[in-house]
Amino acid sequence: MSENPLNVGQQLARRQQVAMTFRIFCTGVTFFAMAILAILIYQVTSAGAGWLDWQFLTSFPSRFPEKAGIKSAFVGTLWLVSLTALFAIPTAVLAAIYLEEYAPKNKATIFIEINIANLAGVPSIVYGILGLAIFVRFFGLNRSVIAGALTMSLLILPVIIIASKEAIRAVPSSLRQAAFAVGATRWQVVSAHVLPSAIPGILTGVILALSRAIGETAPLIMIGALTYVAFLPEGPMDEFTALPIQIFNWTARPQEEFHELAAAGIIVLLAILLVMNATAVYIRYRGSKK
C-alpha cells in the first residue's frame, strides 16, 4: 500500500504549532485583562456595596461618614453633562457636516482635520488649564457649572467631530448622487438623506464622548470645582461639584470609612457609564439592522 498523501508533513506540523501558540497567547492576554477588571470591580463592590443605600444617594456630603452622600455631586454631574451636551453636540455635528460635505479638499482643510485628530489625544489636564485661563479668568465665569461645561465641551469636541465625520463618510456617495440627480440642493441632500443615515453613528460617538466627560476629573480640579458642596446648583452660574471630584476628595481622607464611601461613589459612576455605553451599543445595533 502506498503512503497516505494526506498525512501531515513536518513543515505543516511546525506551522500549525506556531498558529496554536499564537492563539493561546492571545487568549491568555484577553483573560488577564478581564481578570484585572474583575478584581477591580470585586474590590470596589466589597468595599462600597454596604454603604450604597437611599440615604447615600440623597444626602449632602458630611464630615460624619454615616451621614455623607452624593446628592450634590450627582446633581452637579447631571448639570455638567447636560450643559456639555448642549454646547458640544450641535457644534461638533455642524463642524463634521462642514468638513465632510462642504469644505474644499485643500491644504487648509487637511490642516484642520489633522489638528482635530491631534486634539483628541491631548491630555485632559491641558484642557483644564485652558478652561481656567479662558472661561474662569478671562470671561469671569468663576468656578461655575457653565465654566466646567464649556471646558468639558472643548475636551469632547474633537471626539464627537471625528465620530460624526466617520458616520457621515460611511454614507455611500451613490445615495448623494441619486438625490442630486433629482434636483436637490446640497442642504436637501444632507438633511433628507445623509444625516438620517449617519445619525446612529453620530449618536454612538456622542454617548461615548459624554461618558468620557462624566468620568473626567483633572480638568474640573484645574478649574477649581469645589470638593465640599452642601447645596444644589440652581443655575448655570452656580458653583458645583461632580461625582469624580467627590470620589477623589473621599479617597484623600485618612479615615477608612471615607475610602469605603469613595468605593460606593465609584459603583454609582460605573453604573451610569454602563447604562450609557449599553445605550450606544443598542443604537448602533438598531442602526445596522435598518
Binding site: 451613490s174 448622487q177 440627480a181 433629482v182 434636483g183 436637490a184
Partner: protein
C-alpha cells in the same frame, strides 16, 4: 436630422489636467436614443456625466469647449446646476434607491422642487411608465431595498421620470442586471423614447445595436465615429470602429 437637444462643441474634460474626453463634438438628437460605446476608460461615462453637471462633484475636473442645451451653454456662470438636473435626469450604473419607501423614492424629487399637481397621481404615472406599477401598487409603503435588483433599477428610472425631464442619461443601467431584467429595461426604452431623449452609455454592443437610433464610438477620450446605429454597426467608416463592433478588440 432635427435640431439636437444637446450638442457638445470641441469639448475637452480633464481630471487635474489629464484629459479624459478630448475635443468631442457630438449632437444628441431629440426624442431619440443615442448610445455611447467604447472600451473601459474611454471617457464615455465622464462625457455622460458632464451633460447634467454631475462632474461638478469630482474635485479637479475642468471643462473646455461648450455643451449646449437647446443652444444655451450648460456651463455658463449664470446657470444653476440644480436647474440643469431638473431638465436632465439620470439613472446610474448600480441601482441606488433611497433607503425609504417605494412611494417616497418617487415622490421626493417632485416634492422638494415644489412641483404642482397630485403627488399620488404623479407617482402612479411614473411607476407605470417605468413598467413597475403592477408589481408594487399594493405595497408602495414597503422599503425600496426589499425590491429585486431589476425592480430597483426600474424604480430609479421611475424616480427620474417623475421629474418630467426632457433628457434621461443612463450610465450602463443594465450592467448589474440579469438578462430578463435587462430585456425588461430595453423594452422600456422603446416606449420612453416617444416622450424623452435618452443617452445611454453601455459596454454591451448588442444592447447598443438593439435599442439605439444613433451610436457614438469613443476610444481614449476621442470620438472615433458617430452616426446612425445601422450605419455604425454594418458599414463603419473607421477601421477602429469596425474592429471594435466586430469584437476584434475591447
Amino acid at each position: 436630422m432635427s435640431k439636437p437637444i444637446l450638442q457638445t462643441n470641441g469639448l475637452t474634460i480633464s481630471y487635474s489636467g489629464n484629459p479624459a474626453v478630448r475635443n468631442v463634438t457630438l449632437p444628441i438628437p431629440e426624442k431619440k436614443i443615442t448610445a455611447i460605446i467604447g472600451p473601459s476608460g474611454c471617457g464615455k461615462s465622464t462625457l455622460l456625466r458632464s451633460f447634467n453637471r454631475m462632474n461638478d462633484f469630482v474635485d479637479g475636473v475642468t471643462h473646455d469647449g461648450k455643451i449646449l442645451y437647446r443652444e444655451h451653454d450648460l456651463y455658463a456662470s449664470n446657470v444653476d446646476p440644480v436647474e440643469v438636473r431638473l431638465r436632465i435626469g439620470m439613472v446610474f450604473q448600480k441601482a441606488n434607491p433611497f433607503p425609504k419607501s417605494i412611494f417616497r423614492n418617487v415622490a421626493w424629487g417632485p416634492e422638494i422642487n415644489g412641483m404642482e399637481g397630485d403627488i399620488n397621481h404623479r407617482v402612479e404615472t411614473a411607476l407605470t411608465q417605468a413598467a413597475l406599477w403592477d408589481e408594487v401598487s399594493d405595497r408602495l409603503g414597503d422599503s425600496a431595498l426589499n425590491l429585486s435588483g431589476g425592480q430597483q433599477q426600474r424604480l430609479c428610472i421611475a424616480r427620474a421620470l417623475a421629474m418630467e425631464p426632457e433628457v434621461i442619461l443612463m450610465d450602463e443601467p443594465c450592467s448589474a442586471l440579469d438578462p430578463v431584467s435587462t430585456a425588461h429595461i430595453e423594452d422600456l426604452l422603446f416606449i420612453l423614447k416617444e416622450k424623452y431623449t435618452i443617452v445611454i452609455v453601455t459596454h454591451n454592443m448588442q444592447q447598443a445595436a438593439r435599442v439605439s437610433d444613433y451610436t457614438a464610438f469613443m476610444e481614449m477620450g476621442n470620438l472615433v465615429e458617430y452616426g446612425e446605429t445601422d450605419q455604425v454597426f454594418t458599414r463603419p467608416k473607421q477601421k477602429r470602429t469596425e474592429e471594435y463592433v466586430t469584437g476584434r478588440f475591447g
